[in-house]
Amino acid sequence: MGSMSKITPTLKRLFQRIVGHAFVLDAPEVLKAYECDACVLMKAQPDLVVLPANTQEVAQVVKICHEFEIPFIARGSGTGLSGGTLPVSGGIFIGLSRMNHILEIDPENRIARVETGVINAWLNRDTRPFKLFYAPDPSSQAACSIGGNIAENAGGIHCVKYGVTTDHILGLEVVTPEGDIVSLGGPHGHYRGINWVGLFVGSEGTFGIATQAIVRLTPLPQTIKVFLASFSKLQHAAALVADIMASGLRPSALEMMDDVTIKAVNEAFSTGFPQDAEAVLLIELDGHTDEVAMAEQQLMPLLSQHQVQQLRQAEDEAERLTLWKARKGAVAAYGRILPAFYLHDCVIPRSELVHVLTQIQAIGKAHEVVIANVFHAGDGNLHPNILLDPDDPAMVKRVLAAGEEILKACLDVGGVLSGEHGIGIEKSEFMDLVFTWDEIDVMRRLKQVFDPKGIANPDKILPVKSGCGEVRKGLAPHMLQAQGTWI
């Protein structure tokens, strides 16, 4: 698969005629640079990279792909964590990096229209003067594109209160896998009838390419307060999270970090988190000033019931931003302990946090691996990072075994495979742990509705039924033979 390029010189010339010579890339080293996204354990090179400037160019490129049955994969900033843009069956990349313009901000109706190559953080930078923001904020928001967020239905720190990407996308302009341009939803959002926008968001580029989006903007809160609570036991923190969420309080963020993370982050960002704590929670309340004050009154008794070691409130905006910067950079800070890590993205019921975190600790001990936890606790969205040295095959083996056990522990309590990173290629072989093959077939039929020829980002999300568990077992170690890290 993928070894025989379908790209003939004639096809290349066709693409060049559409987007211009400079924006059709096929130098061997350039293709090499494109062989992985932020999930570097798996690699595959595209046959060609095309960088169109607008929707019409995308449509013309896709039309050719459709005619000649060439797989195509949309790629934004390449910050994905599940190998969602890996060209496993070859084909071309349609890079949206040049389609990065914010077309319109309409403060009156609280919407913005953007090209999907726009970086998440730019949208926030430009809406801030209107006292508005775009709520979904993945940790990679400084780099990830709105198009990538749409593909993965990205979450983020503040999604516990504001909802994930799908709740903030009102309309899309999409190039279908058959090369048509169609608009879904619109400035008034979707209501009634088939929810095309809802179906498209989170389809990981397998239903076509979103080239423009109309997004909902949210008023900036009047007041924001961030508390940092530290605990001597991870379990105390987890129990508090469950209680906060059960109380009906709606914190705008509720994040947990464990001891391994605390140490790495302190070193990288000099945040001064209590070094002896086994866990810290970052709790953010936002909204109307009076509302925040009352939420704080509701929060305090809960804190006192859960053996909080230390409680600190961010003094000012600068300190708050430092805390969030440290949280968002935590994953990169692990590089200081071991050069790579393997990461899961399960979501579990919050009342199971204590139980599952205890199990994860035990799994780490049993397999002699270091597990660092930094995650969206309020959502129950775990991110256990199993640290590893890719050059140590024995360790890699233990890490993979531990990873699978963690996954199963999460599924056992009613969890799901992924909360925000997507299934991509990395988790597709676990799909049959969650769905029956009939259910997977129902999903496959949905894919056929949008992409009868199966050329839009093929091989993603849906597993291939092989009847033998060896597929799963075979894929992962192979992936890990490659050098690199996995975040």
């Binding site: 130098a27 350039v30 090499k32 190559g117 953080a121 990830c144 968002k328 990169a332 590089g335």
Partner: protein, 423 residues
């Protein structure tokens, strides 16, 4: 020279590129990279370049050119280094790679460049003389004639470069060996640089005036080119020799600080400790180097300050903001000037596309990068755009000349000098 050899690995020192493993491929650097922004290509991004460096170290690239092409396009602005959450030392890796790659360059081109770096830049009289000729070209009307006749277009690529030609003002470069002011707060040696002195000697006059007003004794010792261009081209022997000369000459003046007003020179001078690893004085030297705005930010400005009613915006030169990490100081100093309106510039810390001689080597890309910068600059509707580096100043002047806006380009110290104009 066998071109099929993996270029970096073949040179031994397998650990020299250990720092590469710090890159976790997260992509946070992409939007901070001007060449990625303009080309949209992963291979022209910091992450792509690091990935190719690694591929090269591991012997996965067929030819040195496959790495060289992409490192050549790097501006060296180091915006990526500020953006990187895992602390990759991109600058060191880039320099190391370039040092190893120079041997594969076209030998004729390289010989010419080395001649320039070694024989021309370090000799101010050549550069200053060239500036005089250039001024003659400009004030005589010849330039207008050339441009009206559309000659630049006929010149092909050279024509594009003609656009970047600096406007040479009247007046004379500062001559070396002078002393100004009285030592109240300290004695500083002013580093004059090549371009700054040839084109923007007015900036030196402003620097001297402001420093003297703030109680510094300013000496201008004998000195030579800082070696930045040679450094960025990977010509290590040339940098070393220039660095050695500067170290001897400037330290001989016995200054408390070595003050620089050209960000590019400043960042290279600060690296003399690495460039001259073997010499213990390298460290002493580097610790004395300070940007003039950083020095002035160390204590409140001397009173009285006259009000300055300009509306200004500040472009953060890469070699100040990213390389030297002098980020807040210029704002802190400017805010002390009464009456001054300081308008925030969106993406102030993005490169303008100047980057030493980058605009001459890659005019198309440089212009595209400049265009993005000018978009933000225009929106500020300021009267003056400030930049603390001669390369940026030249580049911004080109940008303004090409657009319809009327805006002056100045060094921030010139605004300060206005506040001290009566003293």
């Amino acid at each position: 020279m066998e071109s099929h050899n993996p270029p970096l690995q073949s040179l031994g020192q397998p650990n020299a590129f250990d720092a590469l493993s710090a890159c976790i491929h997260c992509g946070m650097c992409l939007p901070a990279c001007p060449t990625y922004r303009v080309t949209g290509s992963e291979a022209e991004s910091p992450r792509g370049r690091l990935y190719l460096m690694r591929a090269s170290v591991e012997g996965q690239l067929a030819e040195p050119k496959q790495l060289m092409d992409h490192l050549d396009l790097c501006l060296g602005c180091l915006g990526c280094q500020t953006a990187c959450p895992s602390g990759v030392n991109y600058e060191a890796l880039l320099m190391q790679s370039r040092q190893k790659l120079v041997q594969y360059q076209n030998p004729v081109k390289r010989w010419i460049r080395r001649l320039l770096l070694k024989q021309v830049l370090p000799r101010p009289f050549i550069l200053n003389g060239f500036a005089k000729v250039l001024r003659l070209y400009q004030i005589s009307g010849l330039q207008r004639l050339v441009r009206n006749l559309q000659l630049p277009k006929l010149l092909g690529p050279l024509g594009k470069q003609e656009r970047f030609m600096p406007q040479i003002p009247e007046g004379k470069p500062i001559s070396l060996g002078q002393v100004f002011g009285v030592n109240q707060r300290g004695r500083v040696a002013l580093f004059t640089g090549c371009i700054m002195n040839a084109v923007y000697h007015r900036v030196h006059q402003a620097t001297i005036a402001v420093l003297v007003a703030n109680g510094y004794e300013v000496v201008i010792p004998e000195q030579t080119c800082c070696g930045a261009l040679a450094h960025h081209s990977g010509e290590r022997d040339i940098v070393e020799s220039l660095a050695k000369q500067n170290l001897d000459k400037l330290l001989a003046a016995n200054p408390d600080w070595i003050v620089v007003n050209a960000a590019g020179c400043g960042s290279t001078l600060k690296e003399y400790d690495h460039i001259l690893e073997a010499l213990p004085e390298g460290r002493v030297f580097s610790e004395k180097v300070i940007d003039v705005m950083a020095l002035l930010a160390k204590r409140p400005l001397a009173e009285p300050l006259d009000p300055v009613s300009d509306r200004v915006t500040y472009h953060a030169a890469c070699h100040l903001h990213h390389a030297q990490r002098v980020q807040q100081e210029p704002y802190e100093v400017l805010k002390q000037i009464p009456g001054l309106t300081l308008i925030p510039l969106t993406e102030a810390e993005m490169c303008c596309g100047s980057a030493g001689v980058y605009n001459l080597a890659h005019p198309d890309l440089s212009l595209a990068i400049l265009q993005e910068k000018m978009g933000h600059v225009e929106k500020t509707q300021a009267d003056i755009v400030l930049a603390a580096n001669p390369g940026c100043m030249l580049q911004l002047e080109t940008g303004i000349a090409q657009s319809s806006i009327a805006m002056d380009v100045m060094h921030p110290i010139e605004i300060l000098a206005k506040a001290y104009r009566d003293q």
